[in-house]
């Protein structure tokens, strides 16, 4: 009995040490580390945006329409005289928030389907893979546009469109990892112990296939910000007057010749967000991929 407790302690200790090592590798990539803080900062804004916005993002004042950056409006005012800084702060929850939620939804469903497809095999595998192949035949932005166009405008449609268009990658990714893991000794042992299929899938296989999913999540959230803002730009995303970043550029673009600041600042914020996601993705890949980690340890 005592031996078992000691063993469990040692396993826990080893896990903690690995986590610490992964965190150190991640931290050693300075750009990734900095990007993580940028993303946390944007996430905070997405939550408390309306509280810190200096002006009402919906209140328009035509006398100030298209006024350039000033002390009162640090990033200027848009075509209806609304404060651009306030709109960007409040808009974070639409562009950033929607992207994160949709990718999480798409990735969860995709991971589940990938687990089932890879572990169960047979008819499950065939059906899931055929449908997935079909979804992969659509370019991401086209699938998202098609879904939003036929679902009607709104936050819900946007979430569904991005979730569905990001799902297929996870199905394929997880299925491939499951096929690698499924014949490992510990899975065979779990099966011989008579554990239920669900328990094996969730407790024994999932933790061992999750690393590539986490890496992909970061890249995908960046892509989702691009897709969401592109839909907003095209006028297919959340309907006006919602201060979605892409929609701000879409409605401000006709004033590009006289007031480029209306278009410039929201685009800058989108760019920084997506770059940060990609950098964090690179950092995660370095710290979670055992091959890369071993390579880094050597130096």
């Amino acid at each position: 009995m005592e031996g078992k407790v000691a063993l469990l302690d040692r396993i826990r200790e080893a896990k903690r040490r690995r986590l610490k090592e992964q965190w150190n590798v991640f931290k050693s990539n300075r750009l990734a580390y900095l990007s993580l803080f940028i993303l946390l900062f944007i996430a905070l804004i997405a939550i408390i945006g309306p509280l810190i916005a200096p002006h009402d993002p919906y209140e328009f004042d035509l006398s100030k329409a298209r006024s350039p950056p000033s002390l009162e409006h640090p990033l200027g005012a848009d075509e209806l005289g609304r404060d651009i800084l306030s709109r960007i702060l409040v808009g974070a929850r639409y562009t950033f928030g929607v992207s994160i939620v949709s990718v999480m939804v798409g990735a969860s469903i995709g991971t589940l389907l990938g687990l089932i497809s890879g572990y169960k095999g047979g008819l499950w595998d065939t059906v899931i893979q055929r449908v997935n192949d079909v979804l992969l035949a659509f370019p991401t932005i086209l699938l998202a546009i098609a879904l939003v166009a036929f679902l009607g405008q709104g936050v819900h449609s946007l979430v569904i469109a991005i979730a569905v268009s990001s799902m297929p990658v996870y199905v394929r990714l997880v299925r491939a990892s499951v096929l690698q893991v499924a014949s490992e000794d510990y899975v065979v042992a779990a099966r011989m112990l008579g554990l239920s299929e669900w328990r094996i899938m969730v407790k024994h296989i999932l933790p061992n296939v999750i690393a590539p999913v986490i890496v992909q999540l970061s890249y995908h959230m960046g892509l989702a910000v691009l897709v969401a803002s592109a839909l907003g730009f095209l006028g297919l995303g959340v309907p006006p007057p919602t201060p979605e970043w892409g929609a701000m550029i879409g409605s401000g673009r006709i004033y590009l010749f006289s007031s480029p600041h209306i278009v410039f600042f929201p685009g800058l914020v989108i760019s920084v967000t997506v770059i940060a996601f990609n950098m964090v993705g690179d950092g995660l890949r370095e710290s979670l991929d055992p091959r890369v980690r071993a390579l880094l340890r050597r130096w």
């Binding site: 079909v134 370019p139 086209l142 592109a230 590009l256 278009v263 685009g267």
Partner: protein
Amino acid sequence: MVSSLSTYLFYRFLQAIVTFFGAMILFFFIVRILPGDPARILAGPEASEEDVAKIREALGLNKPIYEQFFIYLTSILRGDLGTSIKYGTPVVNEILARLPYTIALALVAEAIAVIIAIPLGVLAALKPRSMLSYIASLLSILGTSLPVFWVGLMLIFIFAVELRLLPSSGADSPKHIILPALTLAFFLTGNLARMTKAAVLEALSSNHVVTAIAKGLPFSKILVRHVLRVSLIPILTIISLQLGALLGGAIITETVFAWPGIGSLLVDSLFYRDYVLAQGIIMFIVGVFILLNLLTDIAYALVDPRIRDVLWRVR
């Protein structure tokens, strides 16, 4: 070997056809199963019940679903994508009229990208710690991170508004293609340069190059005969995939620059709520996408005996 290759090609071809029809069937059901009435959405929020009924009838949405499905499938088989609601002309004609613009834009953009990216990628691989290598990495990061529409608008601001060098939108003269092509090329270049760099780096470390160096061959000869030749295959693959994506219409870029290609036609059709036209364009783009993936795989199999074997073993 020949028989296994042709069997592979046959299976791959069959798979492409199955995927295409799968996509068409999925699309059919997505539109009808998802919440919301397409006729109501197309008619717009202010439309009367009567108008909605009229649209429903015009689209055949009032017929039973199995009949709709039958009509849908048979017309795809005949190559008939229906009649545009806004223009009153066959959808196929509308697509064909816009296609030359999309092709021209794709070719010019890809040409610019190739001219910049391949030398950049090769040099970055040869001198991994140089300034050029740094620029290649930066371009690749920016190319995957910046929003297309914003880059397009910034280029319009710089070249059309401030410098007054180039026209900002439309397709009236050959000059009009420059800005949209530059915008697209910006995104293609980063990706292509990174892939070129990776391919050249891999070729440089392969055994036959090490042998060639050991034999004392002059560097220029090694580079051209042993390195570039091997790295050409992955590079060509990327180029063909990029072209494929572009031939489906650069939806956002075309919209930013009002370039009259397939992509802007799709956005217009959604704007006018021309459901038939939108559906036809989406089918067309998916078809092009699947076809190009197929051609890439075939070219791969024909060009590289190593890949040929692997592909065959997998299937």
